[in-house]
């Protein structure tokens, strides 16, 4: 019998007031796979990730982590969040803490790791991702790309079962996008399970195992990247990709 998928969403529905922002999302992320969510702003990608990390309560459906439902309304979300890593579009580093303090906070406070061990692990990860020597700097001394790499390291420190990446390159200058995507590619190589909301179509095409196009809170088309990008079937996906293509040309 094969292991259950790392993440499974069944009929996930979310309302903001009367407005339906997610309308019955079904989605599976298998161990070591990367699923890319594409779609225009407001299509529900960020909300979906926030719901998976239990920062938002869903209104219907269920989310399973390693086969166990995590969206039981009576359950404490804190232990679940400790098993997932979320990286935000705007980095959300803690401005009053240095790089190393940002990185160890979750490991020490949430995972109960000894402070010395956390520092050592943090150093190792920062060094691996080209941030050696920046440990004592505060976030405002770092470029956007460096800040986002620190944010990724911070999320990795808690050894998440799956990494949720919310438009992690959208706030970056174009020349800095590469250094962050490089890390994600490396993590994919390590076998990290990932759910990625992204605007970087070339990246989704190259590294995603599956691409889902979200439109108006529903997945209107899903499939292998080659199929979605070369011969999209759904008219909404065709329009979306055509607009993107125009944007890159203009």
């Amino acid at each position: 019998m094969s292991a259950p998928p790392v993440l499974e969403l069944r009929g996930v529905t979310k309302f903001y007031g009367e407005r339906e922002v997610l309308g019955g999302i079904d989605l599976t992320v298998e161990e070591g796979c990367a699923v890319a969510l594409i779609g225009s702003s407001g299509s529900g990608k960020s909300t979906l990730l926030r719901c998976v990390d239990l920062l938002e309560e869903i209104d219907d459906g269920d989310i399973y982590l390693d086969g166990a439902a995590i969206t039981d309304p009576g359950a404490d979300p804190v232990p679940i969040r400790r098993r997932l890593g979320l990286v935000f579009q705007a980095y959300n580093l803690f401005p009053h803490k240095s790089v190393i303090e940002n990185v160890v906070l979750g490991a020490v406070r949430a995972q109960g790791m000894a402070h010395g061990d956390a520092i050592a692990a943090g150093h190792a990860l920062l060094e691996r991702f080209g941030l050696a020597g920046r440990e004592r700097d505060y976030p405002d001394r770092l470029s956007g790309g460096q800040q986002q790499r620190v944010a990724i390291v911070r999320a990795l420190m808690t050894k998440p079962r799956a990494l949720l990446l919310d438009e992690v390159t959208s706030a970056l200058d174009p020349e800095l996008v590469g250094e962050v995507l490089g890390i994600i590619a490396e993590l994919k190589g390590d076998g990290m399970t990932m759910l990625i909301a992204t605007h970087e179509m070339s990246f989704a095409r190259e590294f995603a195992d599956e691409v889902c196009h979200l439109d108006g809170g529903r997945i209107v088309e899903r499939g292998a990247p080659a199929q979605i990008f070369s011969e999209p079937r759904h008219p909404a996906t065709q329009r979306f990709l055509a607009r993107l293509l125009q944007g890159t040309r203009g």
């Binding site: 990390d53 920062l55 804190v78 232990p79 969040r81 400790r82 997932l84 890593g85 979320l86 935000f88 705007a90 959300n92 580093l93 803690f94 401005p95 009053h96 906070l105 979750g106 406070r109 949430a110 995972q111 405002d140 911070r154 999320a155 808690t158």
Partner: protein, 281 residues
Amino acid sequence: MHATPTTRAARQQARRQRARHSIAISATSTGVVIAGLAVAIVLSPGWRTVRETFFSWHYFKQVLPSLPGGFWLDVQIFLVVEAIVLALGLMIALIRTVRAPVLFPLRVVSVVFVDVMRGVPLLILLYLFVFGLLALGFSFIPSDETILAGAALVCCYAAYVSEVFRAGIESVHPSQPAAALALGLTRPQALRHVVMPQAIRAVLPPLLNDFISLTKDVSLVSIFGPLEIVRIAQINADQYFNYTPYIAAAAFYLVITLPLIRIVDHMRSRALRRQNALVLM
């Protein structure tokens, strides 16, 4: 047609000249204003009397030795009151921001407390606490006027300070606690390690401002008799029919308050510079 290119040295020269020019103008205008004020005061018909009754060197020297002891009482009252104000103010602010349903009754009490304490003149509050509480006749209520007046100061200032803390907590962007929760921190942990340090940093200048007001309002306990500096000055003034003791007492306050005021100002401009730098980033 080509104009002669301006060299870098010439531009710097012009910039320096402009700077010298504006310094000269501001120095001159400051001098003129101060001199004008001084002349106006000295030439006023009553200057001779004012100098005698407010700025008499003779009485100043006479009253000076009796003041430090009184001022020390003010400082002690201030330190105790301020410590309690900070703790109580923070507690009220937390009760009002944390949305736990258990705290609902406390939240209602806090809102009423803060509204009333901010809405009543401090002087009336002092009378209510000192005379009113004493009149209740409970044996557990201390009969010391200084303590009762101190309690009134605590209530008044805790209300203001709680509002300052609350503004600080609300100024922290929700993405910050969200990031802390995403790391697996509990809500109290997120508050303690992520929200509060940023909130307190944001409100240090207004917090220090309330601090400065309190240093001065401590002198209001003099109404009830304790021999603090304003009370001593008053006794001396009544005795000599001369107001110079008040000026001497004011000088003691300025020694404490002026540096604090400068510090607040400095922190403000630094915070503003940092904010602008962030916007430009």
